[in-house]
């Protein structure tokens, strides 16, 4: 069985906008969510800029009961619940009533590490021999599946409710796993997405690896520079993105709004062989992933008019462009339009794939290509492969028909999904 799967709801909690309305406007206008973070300076980080959603008490009280807020110290859960419940509501779906879950709706909500601040709180209590002070929510806030569990209970989903984790590939992989579950007939609806905690305890490891920029602390909005000649590392971010995937039958039966269709995709790994390593992608594997995504979606390489890349602002950006170019057999003026959203909200790690899938689909809805920022000085190794016209520096009018979105993560893991403008023909 291989049923058609469409996207009927979107939700977003991003450093440059919480909720679809604010986020869409920020992406159109090129508004950055990267800010100087005083705590990182106090803790003597090299990189003192980052992206975090601006969560107010009003927002917290909208999404959580007083009981849920008691002792809640997991920003990933906050972001994920906001994005997930918004996507569900955006899809026009209700929370299930009290007695039975919706057996046909599941959740696949990923993360990298979860509840890092809560765990730190617990660790100090434990080391001080105060185990009792942990309270009843320490476990559920820090278990990796905490986010899917929270959403499962809020929405009342009775199909598979789980959390995937594949570093920066998590969100994009989640879209494909949710798609497969519906396409094979095992669910009607899947809320897919991913979240990432904010804060020094998540970001420190990357600072220690010296992969974050250190010379933009006084100029945060210029710090995240995918595809730029002056990029010196990725700017860490945080947040969550969520999508409601639904079988076409179910969507049409209830007259749901459709953002686009998931045609298919591919996931693979470079096995950390060849030129791959724990932290760098194997080019052969990246190209295979893209090629297989195209084949699985039953399109031609020339059908892709828009790409949203992984493009984090490290020295590997030019190599990613080369891999896209070789995989699709396209270059110069024939290369598709390409952008990276990381310039505006940073690299949100496990949340990046889903947040970027949400933004990709908003481009379908808006009939626009969101502009790149901070790459007026496109890297010379990119310009000699792709026409600079294909790397717009500001938002342009453009109606994507077929969009490829890929993420490449630590562990040498890859995922590429193909979205299509929805039309009714079978």
């Amino acid at each position: 069985m291989n049923r058609r799967v469409v996207v009927t709801g979107l939700g977003i909690c991003a450093p440059n906008g919480i909720g679809l309305k604010d986020f869409t406007k920020a992406m159109i206008d090129g508004k950055s969510g990267i800010r100087f973070i005083p705590e990182l300076e106090e803790l003597k980080f090299g990189c003192q800029i980052a992206g975090e959603p601006l969560i107010t008490d009003t927002i917290l009280n909208t999404y959580f009961t007083p009981l849920q807020l008691r002792g809640l110290n997991a920003t990933g859960i906050i972001y994920g619940v906001i994005a997930g419940t918004d996507a569900w509501r955006d899809a026009g779906l209700p929370k299930t009533e009290k007695d039975h879950p919706d057996w046909d709706s599941g959740i696949l909500f990923g993360t990298g590490t979860l509840g890092v601040a809560k765990f730190r709180e617990a660790i100090y209590q434990i080391d001080a021999k105060n185990v009792r002070r942990l309270g009843s929510t320490s476990v559920i806030q820090t278990m990796a599946s905490g986010i899917s569990a929270y959403l499962g209970g809020i929405l009342g989903c009775g199909n598979q409710v789980t959390t995937n984790s594949s570093a920066c590939t998590t969100g994009t992989e989640g879209v494909l796993m949710g798609y497969e579950r519906i396409a094979s007939g095992r669910a009607e609806r899947m809320l897919v997405g991913s979240c990432s905690d904010s804060g020094p305890y998540v970001w420190a490891g990357f600072d220690a690896m010296r992969v974050l920029p250190r010379n933009y602390n006084d100029n945060p909005e210029k710090g995240s520079r995918p595809m730029s000649a002056s990029a010196t590392g990725f700017v860490p971010g945080s947040g969550a993105g969520a999508l409601v995937l639904e079988s076409l039958e179910s969507a049409q039966k209830r007259n749901a709004k459709i953002y686009g269709e998931v045609l298919g995709g591919a996931v693979n790994s470079g096995g950390q062989r060849g030129d791959g390593s724990m932290t760098a992608a194997n080019s052969e594997a990246v190209q295979r992933c893209i090629v297989q995504a195209v084949e699985n979606s039953r399109i031609r390489k020339s059908d892709i008019d828009t790409i949203n890349g992984h493009l984090t602002a490290t020295t590997k950006d030019a190599l990613e462009i080369e891999n896209w170019s070789k995989a699709l057999g396209r270059q110069g003026g024939d290369f598709p339009y390409i952008n990276s959203f990381k310039g505006l909200f940073g690299h949100c790690l496990a949340a990046s794939g889903s947040m970027e899938c949400v933004a990709s689909l908003l481009q379908f809805e808006q009939g626009k290509l969101f502009g790149n920022v901070n790459c007026e000085d496109i890297h010379p190794e990119i310009v000699n492969q792709v026409d600079s016209d294909k790397i717009p520096q500001k938002t342009i009018v453009h109606e994507p028909k077929i969009l490829a979105k890929a993420s490449f993560g630590f562990g040498d893991v890859n995922a590429c999904v193909i979205f299509k403008r929805f039309n009714d023909e079978t």
Binding site: L67, R70, G71, R132, R133, G135, S136, T137
Partner: protein
């Protein structure tokens, strides 16, 4: 603080843990936390932490096992306060 004040503070502490269909008006001295008020048994440990913080007392394992009803809680609070 008087008995009345203890009772009132305890009800305030319990409020956040009551399910949607139970109000603080439903609470009586004999109310069993789990069986009468439908409080999630997982939250009993949280109620105990809140009681400890509010009254500045420390509850031992035995105390916690004995705390099944509102009356039980009030008795334990009284006992701990008079020990201080």
């Amino acid at each position: 603080m008087t008995q009345e004040e203890h009772y009132s503070k305890l009800k305030d502490i319990m409020k956040i843990y009551l399910p949607e269909d139970v109000s603080t008006n439903d609470i009586t001295a004999e109310s069993h936390f789990i069986n009468d008020l439908n409080i999630n048994s997982a939250n009993l440990v949280d109620i105990i932490l809140d009681v400890e913080d509010e009254f500045d007392i420390m509850l031992e394992n035995d105390d916690m096992e004995k705390m099944q009803t509102v009356q039980d809680a009030l008795q334990i609070i009284d006992a701990k306060l008079s020990e201080k």
